[in-house]
């Protein structure tokens, strides 16, 4: 017996025995903790021997393929100018064929763990394919043009941190653009295909990692499957999270960090944490909010384990990486990406918080939901409210189960993940408030990608049958919840919940009029870049040179900045040029102040209103933004042909480009040049 524990007197023997027991208990706790992420939890609802039913997966793959075919039919008929409502039938039928079989099989009690993981990844991939089908030849989402510009700048200059006129902040988070440029360099694939591949891989990563993390949180593969279905039902998952955008690489990498750290921190060697450090750097240089969210999650994780007095070494890793993530993200945000602070706080968070505060104080919504010139059908609106309603009803039940099964008795190792998920889920009602404001809608929408992680894990607990209630010792509320969620009744209930959430989530996250691509011969003001815009943009690049200061509407600016490599002015600053009948006065002052030398006019603005309710032609600050009921006045655009100092240098269909450099450099003062004539091109 070592001297350190040799009893000095008989009374010490009891102390030594207690020390021995404590040491043994500590070793047992360490081993159990080490095993907690290493092996799948025992789950009575998941057979361990069955594993994988290949025939079921094959059948579901076939129904998924059928769903994609129907969606392709819907897209093609929409492009051909068919009746929009009729085409949507194929669209919803296709989504049903993709989602419902997966949901049935994942929620079913007899499905193996491996099969659930495969089906969850299949669902994520299939929904990504839906997004690709909506724009199979080029990027069409607004944010995609931002990162397309970044990528093309890197390919042209071979360096990062180039100026991005569409979103200056994005130029300082070059992770997505750089890795896409790298893939294009290595393979020779186009930027479009390279971007699709990168985001597709990210989709696989997020689907797999979320399932594995949810499995640890809930302690059940079946619950993790339900959680994954709920996450796929978040309003942003179908289109937004599948876009070529920096968040759609940053967030999956953040998910990977959480899974990897939890999985490897108890290994005897610290070498796996080199990978964690590399991952954190990758998140830092890719997306700001993902980096901050990751540091917050790791920080809270560390604090909860500190309260629970978890073994020191694994807990220390979490603390170290929480500090590393917080430090790297903050340094990059404040010192490297200098425009980011103004973009995030001044232009987004502060206005949203102020309007939300005013909403709470006054009780009056700042904007009308589903308002504007285009109103969707009532069923579309009701589906969205149904999804919210289902969450608000099911969440308290799941939170009670979380408390009853895991929360009573304080913070302990087994309960930490559940507590964490419940805390995130409970923030859901608060995230809905900004939707009622003019400036907070976008922020509220994007929080769903984060909040639904907690909602998914918490609702997934409804798939677990409480052991206490099986023994008949549970409280009355727990017995009621168990009665509702047990057996076939519970399976059907879970299926209904995730289905309502999935279809209702789509109606919340996507405008009714943007579910399908517009006709190839659109009428009115198009909401995606048209071929003639691309032709005009490439003409500008070839004849005027790149980086020329332009003023144009929001949609055409996307084409000019990417296909034309031009410097499109900030819409918030240049929109006054287009308002009013006179090129003198405010228009001329704005041209001089912003340094605009060329103006691109799209006469389709006079044919229709912005299709997205609450939308605008140039900027959210323009007069009448969000309230248009009539097209843009033609007289406002006619001034560019009826005033001097504005020289027409390009015209193709409804697109015109004017040279106003004389006004910009002060050598020409605009005056009317005779009787007004029709300036609109024939």
């Amino acid at each position: 017996m070592p001297n350190s524990v040799r009893p000095a007197y008989r009374g010490d023997q009891a102390h030594v025995a207690q020390v021995g027991r404590d040491s043994r208990d500590a070793r047992i706790a360490q081993r159990r903790f080490a095993d907690s992420w290493a092996t799948p939890p025992h789950d009575p609802a998941t057979p361990t021997a069955a594993g994988f039913n290949g025939w079921a997966v094959l059948l579901i793959a076939l129904t998924t393929a059928l769903g994609l075919v129907w969606i392709q039919v819907a897209n093609q008929r929409a492009l051909n100018g068919g009746g929009y409502g009729r085409e949507l039938v194929f669209f919803w039928a296709g989504l049903a064929a993709i989602f419902l079989p997966v949901a049935i099989r994942v929620i079913a009690r007899g499905t193996g763990r491996a099969e659930r993981i495969v089906l969850v990844i299949l669902l994520g991939g299939a929904l990504y394919a839906v997004k690709i089908q909506s724009s199979p030849y080029a990027f069409t989402f607004i944010d995609e043009y931002i990162h397309l510009r970044n990528t093309e700048d890197i390919l042209r200059s071979h360096h990062v941190f180039g100026y991005n006129p569409l979103l200056p902040t994005a130029g300082y988070y070059p992770g997505l653009a750089a890795v896409t440029a790298g893939l294009e360099n290595l393979t020779g694939l186009s930027t479009f295909v390279s971007g699709l591949v990168i985001i597709g891989v990210a989709r696989v990563i997020v689907s797999a990692c979320f399932f594995l993390v949810a499995e640890r949180v809930t302690g059940s593969a079946r619950s993790a499957g339900v959680a994954s279905l709920v996450y796929a039902a978040n309003p942003m998952f179908l289109f937004w999270s599948a876009a070529f955008s920096y968040e759609d690489l940053g967030l999956p990498l953040a998910f990977f960090v959480i899974w990897w750290l939890g999985r490897t921190r108890t290994l005897a060697t610290g070498l796996p944490q080199i990978i964690t450090a590399v991952l954190i750097v990758a998140v830092t240089v890719t997306h700001h909010i993902s980096g901050f969210a990751l540091s917050g999650i790791l920080g809270i994780w560390f604090l909860l384990e500190l309260l629970a007095r978890k073994p020191t070494r694994p807990r220390r890793y979490v603390g170290v990486f929480a500090a590393l993530t917080g430090a790297s993200t903050s340094v990059w945000f404040f010192l490297v990406a200098r425009p980011a602070a103004a973009y995030i706080f001044s232009q987004n968070v502060e206005p949203a918080l102020q309007e939300t505060k005013a909403l709470v104080a006054s009780g009056h919504a700042g904007r009308q939901l589903y308002g504007g010139g285009f109103t969707p059908p009532s069923w579309y609106v009701l589906a969205g409210f149904a999804a919210i309603g289902v969450i608000m009803v099911a969440l308290p039940l799941a939170l009670y189960r979380a408390w009853a099964a895991f929360g009573s008795g304080g913070v302990s190792g087994r309960r930490i993940p559940v507590i964490f998920a419940a805390l995130i889920a409970m923030s859901f009602p608060l995230t809905l408030l900004p939707r009622l404001t003019a400036d907070g809608g976008a922020i509220s929408a994007r929080t769903s990608e984060y909040v639904f992680t907690g909602i998914g894990c918490t609702l997934g607990l409804l798939a677990i049958e409480s052991a206490a209630s099986r023994r008949g010792a549970a409280t009355k509320p727990a017995r009621i919840i168990n009665f509702v969620t047990r057996g076939p009744r519970g399976t059907v209930l879970l299926f209904c919940i995730v289905t309502i959430m999935f279809f209702g989530g789509i109606t919340i996250g996507s405008s009714y009029f943007q579910l399908l691509p517009p006709s190839s011969h659109p009428t009115g003001y198009p909401w995606i870049v048209q071929p003639d815009m691309i032709i005009a943009s490439t003409w500008a690049r070839d004849h005027l040179g790149p980086d020329q200061p332009f003023a144009t509407d929001d949609t055409d600016a996307l084409a000019l900045a990417t296909y034309g490599d031009e410097n499109t002015g900030q819409e918030d600053a240049v929109f006054p040029i287009f308002f009013g009948d006179s090129l003198g006065g405010m228009a001329a002052r704005t041209i001089k102040a912003t340094g605009v030398r060329y103006i691109l006019v799209d006469w389709r603005m006079t044919d229709g209103i912005p299709v997205n309710p609450g939308d605008y032609y140039f900027s959210q600050w323009e007069p009448g933004a969000g309230e248009y009921t009539k097209p843009f006045p033609a007289t406002y655009l006619r001034k560019f042909t009826t005033y001097s100092c504005s020289r027409l240098i390009f015209q193709s269909g409804p697109i015109q480009i004017f040279d106003v450099s004389g006004i910009e450099n002060g050598t020409c003062a605009p005056r009317p040049i005779g009787a007004a004539r029709k300036g609109a091109p024939s």
């Binding site: 360096h159 941190f161 750089a178 990897w260 060697t269 080199i274 991952l279 750097v281 990758a282």
Partner: protein, 123 residues
């Protein structure tokens, strides 16, 4: 398991070397696409995971996921670093990822060999 692992590590380094040669030549077509995809999504991650994680500590499916995620992270960091310094081009990204893969493969080989020589106990 160890001989198979050593073989896989050797293959990783060999393919990385081949990719460097191909990317520095005028080769185009499916071979370039395949090697480029492997360099971006498989080789660096597999080499680093093999070097950092002892054999048998994570399952095969987890190994696959780890390879994919780690490769993307390495490629992202490398591309940004190159873009901020000497310039991101076909040659620079291929050489960087290839050399990193070979170096990490050597580390993985040595580690696995030590384990094998030590009777299977991880260091």
């Amino acid at each position: 398991m160890t001989p198979g692992r050593l073989t896989a590590i050797s293959a990783t380094a060999t393919v990385a070397a081949l990719a460097i040669v191909v990317e520095n030549s005028a080769v185009t077509g499916p071979a370039k696409i395949l090697l480029g995809v492997l360099m971006m999504f498989a080789l660096p991650g597999y080499a680093l995971v093999s070097a950092a994680v002892p054999a048998g500590k994570i399952s095969g499916a987890e190994w696959l996921l780890a390879t994919l995620g780690t490769s993307v992270a390495i490629a992202t960091c490398s591309a940004v670093l190159l873009g901020a310094t000497i310039g991101l081009s076909q040659r620079s990204i291929a050489d960087t990822l290839g050399c990193l893969t070979i170096a990490m493969s050597i580390g993985a080989w040595l580690r696995t060999s030590r384990v094998r020589a030590g009777g299977g106990r991880p260091s």
